[in-house]
């Protein structure tokens, strides 16, 4: 990226609509926050009018575009006792634009990729990633659950976005074209943009205060590992459902199921009681406190160690979704401040 000039332009609402039409014309599908019933979540759209950027965050993260709830890895139909192996046709995956994701979600892509392509590259994931273009929208609002800034991100951060838009008011967006993919996405649409004329997005961005010192978290976690009382206290309220993991943009636990001649990959959660149940019947993490510890350790200790990337982007979705108001920010603060 450093070889590139910073490319900043302006685009209006109507021009955006034309850009959408162009994408559709190119055979891409567009996923964007869309209101349905009482929730705003990523769904297929055709015009900017369908897009809802009002909420601070969508209920669910856009990770489904790369790592769907259920996906077929390959199939193995059998006939008269003979089994045939059918790989998935990766070329058939539809090029996709994810529009309207927040900088935190964009940053999460790196965490996901780090997991899926850690030791050996996951072909399906990589193919989906290659076909994906992200058009982020910077945050002009935040809420008490947001803490991206504590983790090195920010409401206007460009990491992970191919293009980042910032609502400048008056129906105008500041567009930063960040990557080659971004450039390709607006190829031939130059007339839709105007020059930025030195407009600065900073004033439009939300103020997300730094809540804790990240540097303290990893060593604290390691020191606290055996402090059972601490973890029990921290997780007393937790009921062990999978809501946090399933709304999280970086959680990547999955299960493999064979069904009707298809091998399926589907979401799983380390918060579930039987997640670590061994065939022998032994369960190394029988208690919810241990599973909660695992959640934090994985995101803030194991992943930085193994994949050199944090497993959390501070989007705050888990805290918003938790049925018993477990607020991850509070717990990270408690870890950072703990005196083992």
């Amino acid at each position: 990226m450093n070889s590139m000039e910073k490319d900043t332009r302006l685009i209006g609402r109507e021009a955006l609509a034309k850009l959408f039409a162009q994408w559709l014309g190119e055979g891409r599908r567009i996923l964007a926050p869309k209101q349905s019933n009482d929730k705003v979540d990523f769904a297929e759209v055709e015009t900017p009018g369908e897009v809802s950027l009002d909420p601070v965050q969508t209920g669910q993260s856009p990770k489904g575009a790369l790592f769907p709830r259920v996906e077929e890895l390959f199939s193995f139909p059998s006939r008269d006792g003979r089994v045939e192996l059918r790989e998935r046709d990766l070329a058939a995956l539809k090029p996709t634009v994810v529009f309207g994701l927040r900088p935190c979600d964009a940053a999460a892509l790196a965490a996901l990729a780090a997991i899926f392509n850690w030791d050996s590259a996951d072909a399906l994931f990589s193919a989906r990633l290659a076909a994906l273009t992200t058009v982020g929208v910077a945050c002009n609002r935040c809420d008490e659950y947001c803490f991206c800034t504590s983790l090195g991100g920010g409401p206007g951060a460009t990491t992970g976005s191919d293009i980042l838009l910032t609502d400048m008011g008056g129906g105008e967006y500041l567009a930063e074209v960040i990557s080659e993919k971004g450039r390709q996405a607006i190829q031939g649409a130059g007339t839709l943009f105007q020059p930025a004329l030195g407009k600065d997005k900073e004033s439009r961005l939300a103020r997300v205060e730094k809540a804790f010192d990240l540097d303290k978290v990893k060593p604290a976690l390691e020191a606290l590992f055996d402090d059972e009382a601490f973890w029990v206290e921290q997780s007393l309220r937790c009921l062990g459902c999978g809501a946090c993991a399933y709304v999280c943009p970086t959680c990547a636990c999955f299960d493999i199921q064979d069904e009707n001649g298809r091998r399926l990959r589907c979401w799983d959660s380390c918060g579930f009681g039987l997640f670590t149940l061994h065939t022998s019947g032994h369960n190394p993490r029988p208690l919810q406190s241990q599973r909660w510890r695992q959640r934090l350790m994985h995101k803030f200790s194991y992943m930085p160690e193994r994949q050199s990337v944090l497993g959390c982007v501070g989007c705050g979705r888990c805290s918003r979704a938790c049925p018993v108001d477990m607020n991850i920010l509070e717990h990270l603060r408690a870890v950072a401040e703990a005196k083992p």
Partner: protein, 266 residues
């Protein structure tokens, strides 16, 4: 609220109980469960309209049981849950103290009999709004209902928040986790989601105490409590019984009467 706090202080000071399971203020105007073990911290307790979670769910959590004898700040639904858990032999007499709350008052209920009496005295029909909500869906045509639920279930993530939030879903291995062979599909596809949700509703039939926590817990807002509520009405109108009213006796579906209706059987 003051009555609640002073009662809590007293119970902890006298070591009548080791922990008060109650509500404290949480994020975003929500209330959250709190486990008060020191009299000095009793002022964290609150009780207002935001306190809706059925705290009886924590009885099946080993870490919570380890804290010792508990006093539970109990909404009417939580009281029913305690009775139902007692009827299913999950709680023994004397294992807990219920602090029935309502308005500014707090009523300590030490025995199942006391809880039964308290529940019976305040038992009533569903509110007009609750009835209306159910009727809205029943008034739909069959096909319209089918489409409605198909859309709802298509959003289900199988995060099992509904199960986790339910005080009566205390099995240590749920049917969905029985995987030799896999009985309910694990993936959250449409068929798996339908089967899971039917299974959950059926296994709560005759046991659900109507707290509504399943629906509240759902991160994708599926009105799951409606399924339970429909079956509560079925069980009540056909078999005449309501769960969570007595600490003894069988669930509607673990007993029978020889003359139960069978007009639908050929």
């Amino acid at each position: 609220m003051q009555a609640l706090r002073s009662k809590a202080r007293e119970l902890l000071a006298t070591k009548t109980v080791q922990v008060i399971i109650g509500y404290a203020s949480g994020g975003g105007g929500r209330a959250r469960a709190v486990f008060v073990r020191e009299a000095a911290k009793a002022d964290a307790l609150v009780f207002d309209d935001s306190c809706q979670q059925n705290l009886a769910v924590y009885f099946s959590k080993p870490e919570v049981r380890k804290l010792g004898k508990a006093a539970l700040v109990a909404t009417p639904a939580a009281l029913r849950a305690i009775l139902q858990l007692a009827a299913e032999n999950q709680i023994a007499e004397g294992e807990l103290l219920a602090l029935a709350v309502g308005g500014d008052d707090v009523v300590p209920l030490a025995t199942f009999a006391a809880i039964e009496a308290h529940v019976a005295a305040r038992d009533g029909d569903w509110s007009a709004a609750e009835k209306e909500e159910l009727q809205k869906y029943e008034a739909m045509g069959l096909e319209e209902r089918r489409r409605f639920w198909e859309e709802q279930f298509s959003r289900c993530l199988k995060c099992y928040a509904c199960r986790a939030a339910c005080p009566l879903c205390y099995c240590t291995r749920c049917t969905v986790e029985c995987n030799q062979p896999q009985w309910i599909p694990v993936p959250a596809h449409d068929l798996g989601n339908l089967e899971w949700n039917v299974m959950r509703a059926m296994h709560l039939a005759g046991r659900c105490v109507d707290c509504g926590d399943c629906g509240r817990a759902c991160p994708v807002n599926i009105p799951l409590h409606l399924l339970n509520r429909r079956l509560i009405r079925e069980v009540f109108t056909v078999f005449g019984s309501r769960s969570g009213r007595s600490a003894k006796g069988d669930n509607a579906l673990s007993t029978f009467k020889p003359n139960d209706p069978e007009d639908f059987i050929q």
